[in-house]
Symmetry: C3
């Protein structure tokens, strides 16, 4: 691909270098080879530009490439431009149309002719598999499941009764969509009585679910992951939660039941969200934090339980010296008495 094509594709402008320069791949500063394009997003890595072998680089406005005679493409967002370049070099593989003879598909299900269904996939009753869908081996789809156009279900995934997967979704390996919510009532003898979990999970369009993640169905009603939300590996989404559009939920985060996560919220790794609460749009909760209260839109929250991130930074700085602080109080008490 020519540099000029890459610039056009990424809505960027060539600042230096030949428009006819041939670029054959994209990679990070340290990995890029001599025919690759690279990028700088974090100013911390600016010194690495000097050493990169890349022949072109995406740079944000105002960033100087230094001594390296690398071709420069200016972008509003170098990281986004790089992502688009990488996508151009690695387009999605077209489906390998067909149903493997070892797949077991109930005759009541409707399977488009334009699907790829691999070996040992099992599909139950009354399902609907849309055109462009790719299902990898050893996937189990229970009764009544719909899978929308161009979605990809990786090996080992289970999709439970009546769940719905939208268009252009990806579900990575060994994840579970629609397992029973964790709900019990205590009986007169203090034993647990299971509350039926007869709801379902809906993944809207453009949702991606990582590997080994579990999303529970609602007891009654639905758990809903809205358009464009992205969920990482080993995440727990409890019954009846709603994850709003473009939210990002990082690995090992867990949500108890019935919570609502707003648009574009970022939950970093290993975060915990208690049940029945509301996290407003554009909130960021930093890694390993937790909340058992609602959070207003736009806040950045840290700690267990979580509070304002800046206050938390002050508190944790003081916490490190807490042993010494206690000694200072003791000294004061001595002096004063």
């Amino acid at each position: 691909m020519k540099l000029s094509e890459l610039a056009e594709l990424t809505f960027s402008a060539i600042e230096s270098g030949s428009p006819d320069l041939e670029i054959s791949g994209a990679a990070g500063l340290d990995r890029a080879g001599s025919s690759d394009i690279t990028f700088l997003a974090n100013p911390k890595y600016t010194p690495q530009i000097r050493d990169t072998k890349a022949s072109a680089i995406f740079l944000n406005e105002g960033v100087e490439p230094g001594s390296n005679d690398v071709a420069v493409i200016r972008s509003k967002d170098a990281y986004l431009a790089y992502t688009r370049a990488l996508r151009a070099f690695h387009p999605d593989k077209p489906i390998d149309r067909g149903v493997h003879p070892s797949a077991v598909i109930d005759s009541t299900s409707t399977i488009s002719k334009d699907v790829e269904i691999a070996a040992n996939v099992v599909i139950g009753r009354n399902c609907n598999i849309s055109p462009g869908v790719r299902i990898f081996p050893n996937v189990t789809i229970y009764d009544g499941v719909n899978i929308g156009e161009n979605s990809v279900i990786h090996s080992g995934v289970s999709i439970r009764e009546n769940c719905e997967v939208g268009r252009n979704c990806i579900v990575h390996n060994n994840s579970t969509i629609g397992s029973d919510g964790f709900g019990y009532a205590k009986d007169e003898e203090k034993r647990w009585v299971k509350i039926p979990q007869v709801g379902r999970v809906v993944l809207e369009d453009d949702v991606e679910i990582g590997a080994n993640t579990a999303i529970d169905c609602a007891s009654v009603g639905e758990t809903r992951i809205k358009r464009g939300a992205k969920i990482d590996n080993l995440v727990q989404i409890g019954h009846s939660c709603t994850i709003d559009e473009d939210a990002l939920i990082c690995s090992q985060t867990g949500l108890a039941g019935s919570s609502v996560i707003g648009k574009r919220v970022i939950l970093a790794g290993q975060v915990g969200i208690a049940g029945h609460l509301k996290v407003g749009d554009d909130v960021v909760i930093t890694a390993k934090s937790a909340t058992s209260h609602d959070i207003e839109p736009g806040k950045v929250i840290s700690g267990i339980p979580g509070f304002d991130n800046k206050e938390w930074l002050r508190s944790t700085a003081a916490f490190r010296r807490l042993g010494e602080i206690v000694q200072r109080i003791r000294a004061l008490e001595k002096k004063v008495s």
Copy 2:
């Protein structure tokens, strides 16, 4: 179902409304339709009674329904009564008796005629599958496994060598029962030597295991989950642990090896339990807490490391103001000197 039948079934009494009122389902206050029964357990939601479309409601003693002319059923425990009603409307599906021809079952195993074994299930040598068992697709059962009456094994589950599953158990999708414990000794060159893990896991009757959970076998002996214990998704149970009856272990909680969790203990989400310790009966450990010490029966514990929940609440309240507290100490020091 008539209101009178529901009352009888749930050991409750009709306070207002016709005993012949027809109820066709059960749902929460906000979801219930006009022929549903609902419930109020948490007083916080009392105002919602006014707006519910339900035609009947389970209420605890002393709770007033307000202006709504909904039929009232009085219960000792409205949540338990609702659970029983929901169960009546959603009885367990009877098994669809038969073994799918694609299942691969070793001839040395004993399979009851009254089982449902789905497509692509693999069962090893010398297993015993009891009447009423349902095994969903793509399950792998290793050699020497026993599964008791009426248990349900969901798709993608692996049950390792010699494990035992009791009666009326449910194991959700992609969980692993009996994988090797994580045990190594360090050799003379500081490399890890694997300690053989030749024990097993026993799930007693009425145990439920969530999705994507891992329960390790013992090195020698057994890991045991006792009658009625409930374990959520993505939980880690280390080798040789014992979980006593009716314990409740919430999502993403992890137990290192050889710990003993008492009867009716509740471990909330993302809790950590170190190895070789004893958590007494009826202990509650709140979300994201951890303990590396034994805990006496009946305690409520929070924090990392965990201590008394009330003290912890005071400490965390102070922690939020720790930056300010340090300034107050500085001011005091100035004044005193």
Copy 3:
């Protein structure tokens, strides 16, 4: 096995007891039967020696067995000696050579004749399965995967495109090797654009991966788990991480992308490691701790965020009394004013 053989095998010396004593197994102090050998590693359990039924015991130098007339074998490291004895009693099962007829293997892949491939295994294009490999049922191996000699892949595992598994590795059930890293750029409309994840995962020799663990491939390049590293259940390894030799990563720990974990590092349970950082050789991070900074070799780190373990112990001790400490400050302020 004779006591003398066990002593030789474990590089230990018989101190008391007949060299011809027949030992038939190995187990812990409390579990050992009358023909077993046991061990004492933790002095805390010394009193249990009195009650053990074992007929022989591995003891470190200087430890007295007390009144029990058990045969004593002296070892430099009793735990290591016990491990070796246990391994002698439980040697790895030889493979049951053959490929099950239900396995679906692409004709472009090279499968050694000396392998055991179980029912419903699916292997894609251009893979290479070496001698001595055992693959349990319902495993899915994508295109271009190499598996080295004598490695064991347990049921339900997925190994994604182009990954490499070294020799003598074990991957436990339902784990995912090589799922997409969690990487997105934000576009002009604040929607997430997926960054292609076209790298791979390399497990070097002697690596063990627990159950339900997820290891992401790199976007470009590789995620590498080096020789002898051991990873527990439900662990998250983000894209482009490097885990160096003999590191030990306990259950439910998570690593964001591009971090480097040094040799012999121990990350205890539920630890969190932020992205793009370096944890030096021989570091220990205690359970539930986290770091977002590099850590120098040899440090022991605790807390969120983590700092020196000894300081942290002082701080947490003070934290427990933080409510009281605030009252003491208040009292001081009163006195001083």
